[in-house]
Symmetry: C2
Subunit: 171 residues, 2 copies
């Protein structure tokens, strides 16, 4: 169930294959060498419309950016709760009035609230940088996504088959 | 501006350091060997509350799962638009009535709509699996997130400093 059902890319009109150079031009290069040019490789990717000049990676990075800001706020608030109740209260009150959906706007507003809030904001900036670089398990994320997609695909097909088989046998 | 402002982890009450074994127990092990046990390494991560038994990685993977489903729908609709206008129309009409927020629910509903829609759903399952495994640039995602966090942190601090400097000089 990997890519067998997908239309071969050469048949798709939106990704015209680069014309192959004549093998006469370099008769001694192996098949692998001839076919491993970056231009060919890029062209074999599926075309994803609707991202304009950005890319799916940039879109996902933007979402993760806000997610790491959310995580940093969680981390800092948990740290403050135990050793600095006053700063914790400041942060909680601020959180009630400001959304975390846009992480950068949240930090910009927090910085301008008061001197005490400013140091909280600087700390959140530090933590989000340290968290994404040192603590977040990128390989684990990739593994979990692959596993999730595989399992969900199997489950969706199994559920559908068992459902339709039941309906057939009840007829 | 890396981790200098973060409280040393040993001072934080929620992550008690594992008691070090007496060096007498293994006097010939180097410092590096004694300190490279996985238990110590795990403990040096920042504590992230609020994820219950899940993890930030699992949460991010779930979001990416739905994102890849969205991408797969975009890819399939672009492919159909040019060579199968009828199937394209089916998909567009279905999209108007169903949300893409929950990718698995979308596919489950699409499968049960009609036999024609069923093959569309199977194709979306194929494409989302192939896309996340072969086409999505995971290393690029990581690079873009690091770059985005660094640049946003610098910009937030620079904007704040230039703003407050201007206010000071206007006084």
């Amino acid at each position: 169930m990997e890519t067998t059902m997908i239309l071969p890319f050469s048949q798709l009109p939106f990704c015209p294959p680069k014309p192959c150079r004549s093998s006469k031009a370099s008769p001694f290069r192996s098949w692998k060498q001839r076919n491993s040019r970056p231009t060919r490789f890029n062209c074999q990717k599926m075309y994803v419309p609707g991202f304009g000049e950005a890319s799916p990676e940039a879109k996902a990075a933007k979402n993760l950016h806000n997610f790491f800001n959310y995580i940093a706020v969680k981390i800092v608030s948990a740290q403050l709760q135990s050793y600095n109740p006053e700063a914790y209260k400041d942060l909680m009150e601020f959180l009630e009035r400001h959304s975390l959906n846009d992480g950068d706007k949240f930090c910009a507003d927090l910085m301008r609230e008061s001197a005490r809030h400013q140091s909280l904001a600087l700390r959140i900036l530090e933590v989000r940088s340290a968290y994404c670089k040192n603590d977040f398990e990128w390989d684990n994320l990739k593994r979990l996504v692959f596993k999730g997609v595989n399992e969900a695909n199997t489950k969706l097909m199994r559920d559908y088959v068992s459902e339709t088989t039941r309906v057939e046998s009840e007829k």
